[in-house]
Point group: C2
Chain length 230, copies 2
DNA sequence: ACAAAAGTGTTTTTCTTACACCCATGA
DNA sequence: TCATGGGTGTAAGAAAAACACTTTTGT
């Protein structure tokens, strides 16, 4: 077995860009940092990588600590490795973005971190390079949303097509023609129309749908990729 | 300033998936590992992250050591963080893929690593999770090649449209209609047709082109994105 | 003359886009 | 009855796919 005594060892963290959606708006879950330096400043939720866990496990743990959610869409998008990104000591950080059901998450937020949702269109200055992390995560989200059915992670299990439309308008930051949007969705067999309607937003009521992951897999295997654009 | 005495510190490496193109084939530059365990096995070129360098700098250095090339297209695509990916000791690794001019690189390869080019369609078993790294890198390359003009990094500065066609066929692993491919390229003003022809592959000769990065930037800023598909 | 690579044109079909239109219902 | 959100249909145009066709030149 090799000996690596003489090599540099590094502190490694994970930081989570936790994204939710509510009232037609994408939101980001931030905390107030409780360590020096910059105690009390806005920060992403993060944590240090432990010897016995993988990066993915660390991100999952950190997300669980704050939101008490598991089985969440979580994707590593970039590892930030500048020498001086943290002015205190050098820390590498793997950035993960998480797509959560904001309603569910809000109900069970840990009180230990002074966490708050802020609109993704209006993110305050964050510590270190966290603003850059958010920018990159958002870019990745836009891309994923186009090519993979990840949007549903941000909605309740049952949703109306209008809600989905508003979600995509928020993600892409531009208006989408409702007629054309609906037609594209109609072709997706894996969007299952339920027998219930939602009456929150209209008198007539809008049909509720759910995303059937299993049926999507089948479609995907048959070479029908997901695609939705602005 | 905070004290992080009690936290776990980690060995961090970078591994480079170095991709070249020659005679209609994509190739991968591998070395014979010179450390135990697995001395002599096929491996990606890699190196440990030093205290005073960023991840990007480490990848650049590692690439330079082997190929003596700088100013190369280099992109981080994923950081691999399983606890037991290296059976010796835990090592995190940031994966970078590099697109190089294989002709140029081959001329100046460092003799210290027993490096060899192997066809990307026929990669031998590699140490650790390196095969998985290659798989992910290739997936990312396919994506980049579609949406960004990175293919040119794999060709000499001057190239014919036939060479470009063969490159894209190799990247996507499928035949492309030459007529339609040419038409798409004709619309890209940033492909500058030179006054010379190449006579290596045909008697008639094929016009040489070069990619004008500056003109591409202009087109991009005007909202004309690069797009080429199989 | 003909094989082989280089390069151009044209037709057919498919997909987008833009927008007009109908439906249901509570105030 | 009319404003509002929900939902469908369609005609014009753009873009992709398929493929026939011409050019050039060494053998």
């Amino acid at each position: 077995m090799a000996s690596y005594q003489q090599l540099d060892r590094h502190l490694v963290a994970v930081d989570c860009i936790i994204i939710g959606f509510k009232d037609g708006q994408l939101n980001l879950l931030l905390i107030r940092r409780d360590l020096e330096p910059y105690r009390g400043e806005w920060s992403l939720m993060g944590g240090f990588l432990r010897a016995a866990e993988s990066l993915d496990e660390a991100a999952t743990r950190v997300l669980l600590e704050l939101t008490n959610l598991s089985n969440v869409y979580l994707e590593q998008f970039h590892t930030f490795g500048s020498v001086d990104r943290d002015p205190g000591e050098r820390i590498l950080s793997a950035g993960y973005f998480a797509l959560v059901d904001q309603v569910k998450a809000s109900q069970q937020l840990s009180p230990d971190y002074s966490a708050h949702w802020v609109p993704l269109t209006d993110v305050p200055p964050l510590i270190f390079d966290h603003n850059e992390m958010v920018r990159l995560a958002l870019r990745r989200l836009r891309h994923r949303a186009k090519h993979e059915p990840v949007g549903f992670e941000l909605l309740q299990e049952q949703f109306t097509l209008s809600q989905l439309l508003k979600l995509y308008e928020a993600i892409f930051g531009q208006a989408i023609d409702p007629g054309n949007f609906r037609r594209r969705l109609r072709k997706m067999d894996y969007l299952e129309q339920l027998d219930q309607k939602d009456f929150k937003d209209s008198k007539r009521g809008a049909w509720l749908y759910r995303f059937d992951a299993q049926r999507y897999e089948q479609a995907y295997d048959q070479g029908i990729p997901f695609f939705l654009k602005p």
